[in-house]
């Protein structure tokens, strides 16, 4: 188990990590979701030993890692830009770690050939071993980077936005393959990404990194259904966050008022944020009232293939997004600038009281 305990790291005045603690169980796929600049690369670099924390400890199976030089940590790192050795062939890139590592290098040429071959088959690079790394495609380079790390059998593999440099088609395929490879090798993957779909799809457990600390650490489904804070909900890119105050147990903002899913004892005037899923909103004519509905002006729609994303603006300026899936009946088109009533079931909203400032 990899454990970070109250790890902090700052660069000048910017705080990258702020007393971050997390425990990554062995043999699991953990994805870390964070916006750019949230400190996710710093997190990986500290675990790998390329950087040291200002405070806090990193332990792996109860042994301290911080202070140990990176080449003695036995932690693999897959870089976003692959960082292959440009002067070596694909096969030599993969054999590199086995040949030259400080601890227990493999000297038997036959064994190296065997292990390189095995891993080449595992990641699907058959027939490319003698190619130069400049003569293969982006997806193949990604596999070389992965194979080069996996062949040395590290205790944990850190992946820094490993799919960021690939095009969408390839990204989906690599997602499946990564999960598959990990399950076969029984090694822990810690996968950092800025994409919520990638994080939810890949991770057995998803950690949301926000403001330099882990905002939530939970299985993907739990995370999506029950975000613990408005911050987490924002990262999932599936919730509208409405901010307002409490008024006799109901949510109230300058432009809307509706009941909360459970009666709350919060006092009147307590600031509250409410998360409302994009795909749980029904757009109705303005005339049809209702207890839980937002009045908002239609701005524009985006057609994304399988769904339509529509943007509305409420009177107080807050933006509301509505997703209509195209599996159902074709959604009607809305008139620009027209006011609509956005209805929803209050039981499906998620209120947050803390940090709702």
């Amino acid at each position: 188990m990899l454990a970070l305990n109250s790890v902090s790291r700052r660069y000048g005045d910017t705080v990258a990590l702020d007393r971050l603690s997390v425990a990554v169980p062995a043999d699991s796929y953990v994805s870390v979701l964070g916006a750019s600049g949230s400190g996710k690369t710093t997190l990986l670099r500290i675990i790998a030993g390329f950087e040291e924390p200002d405070a806090g400890t990193v332990t792996l199976d109860d042994k301290r890692l911080d202070g140990v030089p990176p080449h003695r940590r036995d932690i693999g790192f897959v870089f976003q830009n692959f960082a292959l050795f440009p002067h070596l062939s694909v096969g030599d890139n993969i054999a590199y770690g086995l040949l030259y590592r400080e601890h227990a290098p493999v000297t038997d040429a036959a064994e190296i050939a065997q292990r390189v071959n095995d891993i080449i088959r595992l990641v699907g690079l058959e027939g490319l071993a003698s190619r130069k790394v400049s003569a293969i495609s982006g997806g193949q380079r990604q596999r070389v980077a992965l194979a080069r790390t996996l062949v040395t059998e590290p205790r944990i593999v850190l992946l820094d936005e490993p799919l960021g440099a690939l095009d969408a088609n390839l990204r989906e395929r690599m997602c499946d393959e990564l999960r598959d490879i990990r399950q076969r090798l029984k090694v822990t993957f810690l996968h950092v990404t800025g994409s919520e779909t990638e994080a939810l799809l890949m991770g057995d457990i998803v950690a949301v990194l926000s403001r330099g600390t882990i905002a939530q650490f939970a299985p993907a489904a739990t995370l999506f259904a029950e975000p613990r804070s408005a911050d987490v909900a924002r990262h999932l890119n599936a919730y509208n966050i409405l901010s307002g105050t409490m008024e006799s147990g109901r949510f109230r903002s300058p432009a809307a008022a509706f009941p909360l899913p459970a009666p709350s004892s919060a006092r009147d005037g307590t600031p509250v944020e409410v998360a409302l899923r994009f795909d749980r909103i029904n757009v109705r004519p303005a005339s049809s009232g209702g207890d839980a509905a937002l009045r908002a002006r239609f701005i524009t729609s985006e057609f994304t293939g399988s769904s339509v994303l529509s943007f509305f603006r409420m009177e107080d300026g807050q933006l509301v997004q509505v997703v209509s899936h195209l599996s159902g009946p074709m959604p009607e088109t809305y008139a620009k600038g027209e006011v609509y009533s956005l209805a929803f079931d209050p039981a499906e909203t998620v209120p947050f009281f803390e940090r709702a400032a």
């Binding site: 080449h71 590199y96 380079r141």
Partner: protein
């Protein structure tokens, strides 16, 4: 409109540049084929390779003594080689040191660069005075060698600094993360990748040291280097044998350049992947 004026002007400028660059060398090369009785100027009384044979001691002894350059040539080559090795090693190490910011790096940078900026004659003179005071004998392999290093090291350093500037550190980190020690990482990854730069640094150091004059003048002691010896012969009387030598030494320099170009081409071809990867990142 602009190019109608600009282009001819640039063409003339370029032609003049080439003329002044190669003109002296061409004149020198032509005069080196002067006949036995001719002097170091036009007209050519007779085309021959007499002065080349004279240079190599293949002509019957006559009034004009053979150019005394054998020993000093060996000295200069040895000195240039020593300087190349030391300056390049220092240059690579210093540039490597500058990859991480450290306190006082600005001061150190200008201290190093000072070596190529300060006037050579002054440094040479200063070194001569200093060695006299300290009781150190002046020699081409001692006092002159130190000054050659001080002079060429900044060039090697600047070349390597430029190379490291666009070096992708993640490749080294990848090596470390595979359990390979920093020393091995340098040997297996860093060095092969910076090798074209190392070659350039070596070329700079060698050529600068090989024909260094002002710093060597006061510091080489009794045994002279090649540029000093050649200059010494001027003070007696000039014969075309010095031109013949000039041609030979130019050919030698071109050979060095050709070797450099060959090695460079090979290294660049090997490292092409690096560029591709950079462009994609």
């Amino acid at each position: 409109m602009e190019s109608r004026v600009l282009k001819p002007v640039l063409a003339v400028y370029c032609a003049a540049f080439i003329l002044f660059l190669y003109g002296p060398m061409i004149v020198l090369a032509i005069l080196s084929f002067q006949g036995a009785g001719g002097g170091p100027q036009f007209p050519i009384i007779e085309w021959s390779t007499y002065w080349y044979r004279h240079l190599l001691g293949l002509t019957p002894p006559g009034r004009i003594t053979q150019l005394p350059i054998g020993d000093s040539l060996v000295r200069s080559l040895t000195l240039a080689f020593m300087t190349t090795v030391v300056s390049t090693v220092l240059g690579v190490m210093t540039a490597q040191g500058f990859r991480t910011r450290f306190k006082g790096s600005g001061v150190v940078f200008y201290l190093v660069i000072l070596g190529m900026i300060v006037p050579g004659v002054l440094v040479g003179l200063g070194m001569a005075l200093f060695s006299n005071m300290a009781g150190i004998a002046r020699a081409w392999w001692g006092t002159a060698f130190v000054l050659h290093v001080v002079y060429t090291f900044p060039f090697a350093f600047l070349v390597m600094l430029a190379i490291f500037n666009r070096f992708d550190r993640s490749v080294e980190e990848a090596s470390l993360s595979l359990g390979v020690s920093p020393a091995q990482t340098f040997r297996r990854v860093t060095f092969p990748m910076i090798f074209p730069g190392v070659l350039s640094a070596m070329l700079f150091s060698f050529t600068l040291s090989y024909d260094e004059f002002s710093r060597t003048l006061f510091t080489s002691g009794r045994e002279l280097t090649l540029p000093l010896t050649i200059y010494g012969t001027f003070s007696v009387e000039i014969y075309p044998n010095i031109f013949a030598f000039g041609v030979l030494t130019t050919l030698f320099s071109f050979t060095l350049l050709a070797i450099y170009a060959f090695l460079m081409l090979r290294a660049v071809r090997k490292g092409q992947a690096f560029k591709g990867q950079e462009a994609e990142a």
